[in-house]
């Protein structure tokens, strides 16, 4: 069955709900998980950089600190469930790209992700990154709401 589950983590409450489901599934199937956080590069935030008081170095440092915080939350849940969890945070303009690359590189056989991310359920029928992953994934995707 599923042996290595990829958990994309953006830190939103919706995604943590999916993470909890993914970890529970891993516990039942005796699989291991890989938690991934994708950081948007400074240039991808171009339209707001005039508003940002910080330069690229400070932004990137902050973003990776947040990443560590989110991934640590996932690690804690995994440890409580007694399942092996590795993680990584990467820079990519398009989170879905990093998600698919990581699934492939890590040999994951299932992706568990929320239907929506930070924008929440109000704006789109289906979150843009979830939609992209569903379109291009080689492995099954468990979509949680």
């Amino acid at each position: 069955m599923f042996k290595h589950i990829l958990l994309p983590v953006d830190g939103s409450e919706l995604c943590m709900h999916a993470v909890r489901l993914g970890i529970e599934l891993a516990r039942t199937c005796r699989s291991r998980v890989f938690a991934l956080h994708v950081v948007a590069p400074y240039h991808a935030m171009a339209n707001v950089t005039e508003l940002l008081a910080v330069g690229e170095t400070a932004y990137t440092r902050e973003a990776f600190l947040h990443a560590e915080h989110y991934l640590l939350a996932v690690q804690t849940l995994a440890d409580s469930a007694g399942i092996e969890c590795r993680s990584d945070s990467v820079l990519n303009d398009h989170p879905h790209e990093a998600i698919l690359q990581t699934a492939h590189a890590q040999g994951c056989d299932l992706i568990v992700m929320a239907s929506h991310g930070w924008h929440g359920v109000t704006r789109l029928l289906l979150g843009s990154q979830t939609q992209e992953v569903l379109l291009e994934s080689d492995v099954p995707v468990l979509v949680c709401r």
Binding site: M1, E24, L125, L126, Q131, L134, S137, P140, V143, C144
Partner: protein, 145 residues
């Protein structure tokens, strides 16, 4: 974890792959499955009778026969895996509506289905039925690729 898994099948290879995945997961979780096939009635357009060689009733009969065959196939696979399986055949112009209604009625806690079915450009589009079920199903959806 998941205890009652709905398996909507349209008879396409991908839907049967999804059914296999759903059955394997059910076996692992000690869950039961419910296989569902939805027959789409031919739209009644007056002049169409002259164009198509078969009548509405004949179409519906052969569609039901095919549907029952798909359901028998899935039930046999479930039985081989020692997974309790019930099945039903419905008729609805929009299959996704019947799928969502069935999941709600049966109290299913997971739906496992293919990312698209017979129609749609293979991997370029997310099937409309799958999209609808993810958005309106109310439960997690495992999308098989």
């Amino acid at each position: 974890m998941y205890q009652h898994i709905l398996l909507p099948i349209d008879g396409s290879a991908i839907s049967l792959r999804a059914a296999d995945a759903g059955i394997a997961l059910a076996a692992k979780l000690g869950a039961r499955v419910h296989a569902l096939h939805v027959v789409v009635p031919l739209p009644t357009i007056p002049f169409l009778d002259e164009i198509i060689a078969t009548s509405n009733f004949a179409y519906e009969d052969s569609a039901r026969v095919a549907g029952n065959r798909y359901l028998d196939d899935v039930c046999a696979r479930a039985k081989a895996a020692n997974v309790p399986c019930l099945s039903s055949l419905e008729s609805d112009a929009t299959p996704q509506r019947a799928i969502v209604a069935k999941a709600r009625l049966l109290g299913c806690d997971l739906i496992v289905m293919g990312c698209n079915g017979w129609r749609g450009l293979d991997r370029l589009l997310l099937g409309s039925a799958t999209q609808h079920v993810i958005v309106h199903g109310g439960v997690p959806v495992l999308v098989e690729r």
